[in-house]
């Protein structure tokens, strides 16, 4: 047990050492999960990030409420010829263009087809973040798009985690041939350029959907990008887990469980799984951040979420075409992605620090 890596504060009394790290508070009778929670509770930045993420999720879930009571428009409602009242003045939602005379008598040519920019709260909740060239409400579309982006991101991370845990347990517990086969298939997925693999699968399946093995998915189904992204990320999660299980497999408590007659299922799920749970939790948070970014990239290239469903990636793609006249169309959904992914990354770091305080190195000066 004794190691010299802590140097000056070398001690065999691990309980005392842990207590010192906990700021003098007792650790007797407290579970590791309680201790982790106690450490996390003190990390205001991490908790703040979690709050931001949950707030974004909640806001997207409440998109129909926003559409009904604030913007008064569904995500696909167009309003090309309409007008709105901004601070008492009537304004075109999409400019009709034409020639007007300026205050000094000079002739001004106004471009047609330019949508209205962000109104914030000046129009009573309408067009808070502006309109697109069809007069659709961008804030509403970002909230609805967020539902799709978050759904694809979170569910694909869940699927990825389930498969990764299964494969890592199988490879790490049984070793030998099953380890060889599973590890080589990870190498194969790894050898594909990630985004190209995602695009290849996404485009191929988006044409006519997937109709094999009794599963029927239409081409515009959200499940297609969800599955594609989950496959792409399996090696990223499963490889570190496999390594951890391989070393846990050598521990005495596994030998003890096997000699007591525990069957492989019991060893894998009751003995090994709880020991990798903290790693899974941390990696899962970071994988969700990556799956949301990947969904955006695939949708941006047309290989992810398909029209008429909005998603943050497709909204940016649409905004790119009108960046000169209506920059907010491309900027706003990107800010939503950055906030979401940033919150997940910060929270993932905080989670890692809380679950594995030893990884946080004390700095000597």
């Amino acid at each position: 047990m004794a190691s010299t890596d802590t140097g000056a504060d070398f001690t065999l009394d691990t309980a005392a050492e842990l207590a010192a790290e906990e700021g003098g508070r007792g650790i007797e009778g407290k579970s590791p999960w309680f201790l982790a929670w106690r450490r996390l509770r003190r990390n205001w930045v991490g908790l703040g990030a979690l709050a931001v993420f949950l707030a974004i999720v909640l806001a997207c879930l409440l998109a129909p409420v926003y559409a009904a009571h604030v913007s008064g428009m569904s995500p696909n409602d167009t309003n090309v010829g309409g007008t709105i009242t901004v601070d008492g003045k009537t304004v075109d939602v999409v400019s009709s263009g034409g020639v007007t005379t300026g205050p000094n008598g000079e002739i001004q040519v106004k471009a047609g087809g330019v949508p209205i920019g962000p109104q914030w709260w000046h129009a009573g909740g309408q067009y808070v973040l502006g309109a697109d060239s069809l007069g659709r409400d961008i804030a509403t579309r970002i909230l609805y798009g967020g539902r799709n982006s978050l759904q694809v991101g979170i569910i694909s991370a869940v699927i990825c985690a389930i498969f990764s845990i299964m494969l890592a347990l199988l490879a790490g517990y049984f070793g030998g041939a099953s380890d060889w086969i599973i590890s080589r298939s990870f190498d194969l997925i790894w050898a594909f350029p990630v985004i190209l693999l995602g695009i290849a699968l996404g485009t191929a399946l988006a044409v006519n959907g997937f109709h094999h093995f009794g599963i029927n998915l239409s081409g515009s189904s959200l499940w297609i990008p969800t599955f594609v992204i989950s496959i792409v990320f399996i090696p990223y999660l499963a490889r570190p887990l496999r390594g951890q299980i391989l070393s846990l497999r050598q521990s005495e408590f596994i030998d003890a469980a096997i000699s007591q007659g525990a069957n492989p299922m019991r060893v894998m799920f009751s003995e090994l799984l709880p020991n990798i749970a903290s790693t899974v939790l941390v990696l899962f948070t970071l994988i969700v951040a990556s799956t949301i970014l990947t969904e955006a990239a695939l949708s941006f290239l047309g290989a992810g979420v398909q029209a008429p469903n909005p998603s943050w990636g497709t909204l940016i793609a649409a905004g790119q075409n009108t960046i000169q006249t209506a920059p907010w169309l491309g900027i706003a959904p990107g800010i939503a992605i950055v906030l979401t992914v940033l919150a997940l990354n910060v929270f993932g770091d905080a989670l890692r620090d809380a679950l594995d305080p030893r990884a946080k190195v004390r700095i000597e000066h």
């Binding site: 350029p193 695009i199 290849a200 990239a297 941006f300 491309g330």
Partner: protein
């Protein structure tokens, strides 16, 4: 060493064959993507379609088709289903663009990644460390295509500080080549700078308390020498792995998003056009091209790794 490299080269060949097979199966299974139908045009007779199917060997079993495609790719006779141009020569044309983008961006991200990592490790816990950590986190949280669109809009379209997309070959005008690639380089590098900075920071903080570093300090070496010769040398080893794999992915078409945003007609852009047309041959070519670099660089990384750290044995 030689046996190791030979074994890896053999493994590489197998991986490439399996990858090409998987790509083929993915596209072979597209029901609406029958290339013969699209090639034949709108007024095609059933006879035309059958003739095209025969010409492309689409009426043969799919492993025969796959074998034929591999043979054609190797000899340069594989042509795109849509523009009828040779896939190999199209990829060949994209290589200077993609390599210019990848190599320039790699230099930038390595330099700034190491700089940022060292500064934040040396000042760990201080103001500049916190500032760098926040910036690095934002950097890794931004979609690269969004950053590209924003930078291009504000710096090239609103203000004309930079050219608005496009590529000038190095041989035509080196200064313009550099000027046109500056924005794409930084766009592509930002993500990696943030990522490498964070990895390097934690590596340095892991090694800084090691006994050998204490010894170096105790025998009176200057802090700078301890950092550069002792700490950094060991902390950079994991960065070598990351760099090898990331660089390979970017070379092999991974810069597809940056190339799309800045209209750089590289290998990634070629793949992007092919995707829009569901054009199998170019996608097959680009995916194999990318897989080739990824597998090759992972072998190189292992060799470099063993050279940097003699404790690691190649097996």
């Amino acid at each position: 060493m030689v046996a190791f490299v030979l074994r890896r080269l053999f493994g590489m060949l197998i991986v490439l064959i399996v990858v090409s097979f998987i790509v083929y199966v993915i596209f072979f299974k597209i029901p609406g993507g029958d290339p013969a139908q699209r090639l034949a045009g709108r007024t095609a007779t059933q006879g035309n379609i059958t003739a095209i199917r025969h010409k492309l060997a689409l009426d043969k079993p799919f492993y025969v088709q796959w074998g034929r495609m591999m043979e054609q790719l190797a000899t340069g006779k594989l042509i795109s289903y849509t523009d009828q141009l040779s896939v190999r020569s199209q990829i060949w044309q994209g290589i200077p663009v993609t390599f210019s983008l990848a190599i320039g961006a790699a230099i930038i991200w390595l330099f700034f990644g190491i700089l940022v990592g060292v500064i934040s490790a040396v000042t760990a816990g201080g103001v500049s460390d916190r500032g760098i950590t926040v910036l690095a986190l934002i950097g890794v949280s931004m979609p690269v295509f969004w950053l590209g669109i924003i930078l291009r809009y504000f710096l090239a379209e609103q203000r004309s500080w930079f050219p608005d997309g496009g590529y000038i070959p190095l041989t035509t005008n080196p200064a313009q080549w550099f000027y046109h690639l500056l924005l794409p380089w930084f766009t592509l590098a930002v993500l990696f700078i943030g990522f490498y900075g964070r990895v390097l920071r934690s590596n340095i903080l892991d090694t800084i308390n090691d006994d050998y570093v204490r010894t170096a300090r105790a025998k009176g070496l200057s802090p700078r020498r301890v950092m550069v010769k002792h700490v950094l040398r060991n902390s950079l080893i994991p960065i070598v792995t990351l760099f090898g794999l990331d660089f390979a992915a970017v070379l092999g078409g991974g810069a597809i998003l940056t190339e799309t945003v800045y209209e750089l007609h590289g290998v990634g852009f070629y793949a992007r056009t092919a995707i829009g047309n569901l054009d199998l041959p170019p996608l097959m070519g680009v995916t194999l091209f990318g897989a080739f670099f990824i597998v090759m660089f992972s072998t190189i990384v292992d060799v470099v790794y063993a050279w940097l750290d003699p404790r690691i044995r190649l097996q």
